[in-house]
């Protein structure tokens, strides 16, 4: 630990070691979620039924597919940062922490890729009937 200024001495401490940028991004994605999730909820409540044709016809529209893709990006980014905070709070051993954060990244990118691909496929290949 340095013997410099007060700020210099505390930098890099805490469970995450750094994280100001994460903190801001977490709030930005929270605002994104705040806009997009109520949109999804209201859209779903307004659908007459939840069968295959109704849902895919709805999701194939650009005005549904694009916000849905933005939603996946915002929500997945938000929870990726959020779960990192949780892991850093509970997993203190460096090796296990690294493994946990790697697993988290794979989980986020894996599910995110499937979700985005699914929306793109529905939107770009049109409705079944």
């Amino acid at each position: 630990m340095g013997t410099g200024t007060g700020l210099g001495r505390v930098r890099g401490l805490g469970s995450a070691k750094h994280g100001g940028a994460h903190w801001v991004l977490h709030r930005m994605t929270a605002v994104g979620n705040l806009l997009l999730l109520p949109w999804l909820l209201i859209s779903l409540v307004r659908l007459p039924t939840y069968d295959y044709t109704t849902v895919t016809t709805w999701l194939a529209q650009p005005m549904a597919a694009v916000p849905m893709m933005l939603l996946v990006i915002s929500v997945f980014w938000h929870f990726r940062i959020g779960l990192q905070v949780v892991i850093e709070d509970y997993v203190h051993e460096e090796g296990t922490k690294f493994a946990s954060l790697t697993a988290l990244t794979f989980y986020t990118l894996g599910t995110g890729a499937f979700a985005l691909f699914a929306i793109a496929k529905i939107a770009l290949t049109g409705t079944p009937n």
């Binding site: 929270a30 409540v45 939840y50």
Partner: protein
């Protein structure tokens, strides 16, 4: 990275008592983690099933309409409204406002009322009005 094992890191759970504000804080973490795991898997399953075809979508729908599936969906919607409420509270706390004991406790309690009322309203509408 140097690591001083003696330095306390959260959570430090030895001396505490229940209160609305700490409950709101913990529930924010629990609902966020729940949505990030169960919620994200359900959302991804729904989208991939819809992109795969009628048959896999109907399989998803069968589970979603099953009483157990409904329980999961009700739980997720509660987690969402609760997290939304305590997330909004977070924005206020983040700018340094709302720390007076009574104000803090009031808004912590309000998040729980909001979470339960909104969940009841949503499912009351879905199950009994829309049918």
């Amino acid at each position: 990275m140097a690591q001083n094992r003696a330095r306390p890191l959260s959570p430090h759970l030895t001396i505490w008592k229940w209160g609305a504000n700490m409950a709101a804080s913990i529930i924010h973490r629990v609902t966020g983690t729940g949505m990030a795991t169960v919620g994200v898997l359900v959302l991804t399953w729904w989208l991939v099933a819809a992109a795969t075809g009628q048959e896999s979508y109907d399989y998803f729908l069968g589970w979603a309409k099953h009483p157990l599936g409904q329980l999961v969906l009700i739980g997720l919607s509660w987690a969402f409204f609760q997290h939304l409420g305590s997330g909004l509270r977070h924005f206020v706390l983040d700018v340094g406002a709302g720390y007076e004991l009574n104000t803090n406790r009031f808004w912590a309690r309000a998040t729980f009322v909001f979470g339960v009322v909104m969940t009841a309203a949503l499912w009351g509408y879905l199950l009994f009005v829309k049918g």
